[in-house]
């Protein structure tokens, strides 16, 4: 099965790539997609994940042809001193 993996925003700059195509023999979760795309780098639980632009949790199973996106939640703000 073939999966397109995308990294948005500052995560793209951290990872150093914006898009990766993966092929897999067996079903993968979102977390396993990350591991394969990022050379087993740890996936922090606060990174948001979307499959076909729907927000999902990291244990969601990915289907053939899915697009998986990883992006950092923006929680901060600019009210601080």
């Amino acid at each position: 099965m073939t999966i397109v993996v995308k990294f948005f925003g500052s995560l793209r700059e951290e990872i150093g790539k914006s898009e990766v195509k993966l092929t897999a023999e067996q079903p993968l979760t979102v977390a396993q997609v990350w591991a394969q795309a990022c050379d087993e780098a740890p996936l922090h639980h606060h990174i948001w994940t979307a499959v076909n632009m729907t927000y999902v949790d990291q244990n969601t199973l990915v289907q053939d042809g899915d697009e998986v996106a990883f992006f950092p939640p923006v929680t901060g703000g600019s009210d601080e001193n």
């Binding site: 925003g9 500052s10 948001w48 949790d57 992006f71 703000g77 600019s78 001193n81």
Partner: protein
Amino acid sequence: MDNNQLLRYSRQILLPQVGIEGQERLLKAKVLIIGMGGLGSPAAMYLAAAGIGHLFISDFDKVDLSNLQRQIIHRTTDIGRYKVDSARDTLLALNPLITVTPLYQQWNNTNLSAQVAEVDVVLDCSDNLPTRLAINQACVQTQTPLVSGSAIRMEGQISVFRNQLPESPCYRCLYPNPSIPEETCTQTGILAPIVGIIGSLQALEAMKLIMEVGEVLMGKLLWLDAMKMEWYRVKLTKNPHCPVCQDQSS
């Protein structure tokens, strides 16, 4: 409305989506904006200009030199003043026909829920996750619609939570585990216009909620990647295990 108001608001009364009825709704509305920083500045200024009848603005902080790079409601001579005092002056100079109530206090669950219950819409323009989660909880408890915006680095996001509707996800649904690293502009930085984009979008969605026109970003998150100038539109679903909105609807 008198002639003065009709002329002041004429450019939006002309819109079929607004008209006299829409403008009357804006004039009667009460909106709470939490945070008079980067996001709160444009959000409050556009809501004041558009004629929201009563703005409650909340911040316990004072204006600092490093705020002025992006917090356009404050002036250099306001450094050291309470942000809500400085903001109130700007808002009333823009539109003396509205009422502005500055709120200086720090919030706890009780006084925040009481304040939220007084208004029609809440804008979260705060700067940290614990405050965001507390605002969400108060909005879910009181079934008050919440327009949530945030911005940092070269990124921004906005979503609308219509907490009076059982099908709406809440802000907490997005954080099954809310212990995430804190990020503030003090450490991370922010490019000035990004707060302008997100704060203005918050004002727009609040006005649509009040006038009940168009489709708001309920169950949707817009995420801005300013380096690529791309908007991602992510669909959100209600988390069936959410400790905040599931408690509420059961």
